[in-house]
Amino acid sequence: MQSLIGLLLWIFLFLPPVRDFLESMMILHMHMQMPLIILAGFLMAKPIIKRFSSFFEKWNEDGLPGIVLFVLILGYWMIPRTMDDALLSVNVELFKFINLAFLAGVPLRDSFPKLSTTIKHSILLILFIMVTSVGSLYIFSDSQLCNNYLQVEQLTLGWSFLIMGFAITGYLAYVWLFDPDAYE
């Protein structure tokens, strides 16, 4: 059932009118469409992981390779160029949908539960560094980074990245200052 919802979400996001709308603004493109594609992959993951269980157990035993893949794919789609290319080329667009769903969403599902708390927190720290540096780049860059979006949209996206960074800091500060287990 869950994987069916994931599949439907994935197809829904790919429908031209939905795509046009979500790509009409920079912030929707990066902070709405892309995470939703990852979510679609995440939801679709169960049967895939089951079907290839021996592969996942063998090669992603402790979840590290999967999470490294997830982080790198995420980083790739934060490069300004990739967003422009996805708008201009159908092949890149297709690549984006497959890539984010199956090379980010699926490995995240398989890996995250396998990771130790320390590694989970380190990954969050890495993501924090990524979003704040990309966010600052979008905010402080003098030039227009994406040819298909207005500079003011770039600024909005930059702040959105920083807010994301804030949220991550908040969570990490919380788990480090208070021991959540103590309240369970």
């Binding site: 992603n60 590290l64 893949l69 300004p80 160029r81 040819n147």
Partner: protein
């Protein structure tokens, strides 16, 4: 300790991703579409399409008028309140610094807003930047199709923002005497542009 399989798997993930990043950024050289555009343009050297210009003195002539000369160009619109001003100011500095080359290099600012940038508007605008209307001309292209064909050929991207303004990419463009675009330069690097002009003309034997 990490298991051997994990290390191999991470290595494969890294290699594959280096591959993806490599292809996606043209070998780690172009991280924005603008960089990719600049590289692509200087590799392919597109020909300046046949367009009719109307300059600040309301003279009309085809672009081929400048055949046999280098043309140092920018694209702008006069109602622009930020980057165009900087662009044209920097162009003015290049213009002043290369005074000895003016017989070999034509300076040309093309407006992509022909509706508002009438000859009298251009004539007014050019004076702010020390353009003499001869060695450095400001012109519009009245025919919308011709204008678009030029913007397409040089991959100048102009997005109207709905409030009578535009977001657009800015650069110095250098067209050779055969009408081919040979360089797209950073408009903030004035010295670099001056050097480039001097080098090009020197290698010509001029």
């Amino acid at each position: 300790m990490l298991k051997r399989k994990t290390i191999i798997a991470i290595a494969i993930v890294l290699v594959v991703n280096v591959g993806i990043y490599f292809v996606g950024t043209d070998g780690f050289t172009a991280f924005t579409a603008e960089e990719a555009r600049t590289q692509e343009l200087t590799d392919h050297q597109p020909l300046f399409p046949e367009v009719t210009l109307e300059d600040s003195q309301a003279r009309t002539y085809p672009f081929s008028e400048f055949e046999g000369q280098y043309v140092f160009m920018t694209f702008f619109y006069s109602a622009c309140s930020d980057v165009c001003i900087e662009l044209e100011e920097n162009m003015a500095e290049v213009f002043e610094a290369t005074e000895n080359l003016h017989d070999q290099v034509q300076f040309l600012s093309i407006s992509f807003d022909p509706e508002r940038d009438k000859p009298e508007v251009l004539d007014n605008y050019r004076q702010y930047f020390g353009s003499d209307g001869e060695d450095w001309r400001m012109a519009r292209i009245n025919n919308q199709d011709e204008l678009q064909s030029l913007l397409d050929a040089f991959e100048v991207i102009v997005i109207p923002d709905g409030n009578d303004h535009y977001t657009h990419n800015s650069a110095f463009y250098l067209v050779n005497p055969d009408g081919r675009l040979i360089d797209v330069m950073d408009f903030r690097d004035i010295d670099g542009a001056v050097d480039r002009l001097e080098n090009v003309l020197e290698s010509e034997g001029g």
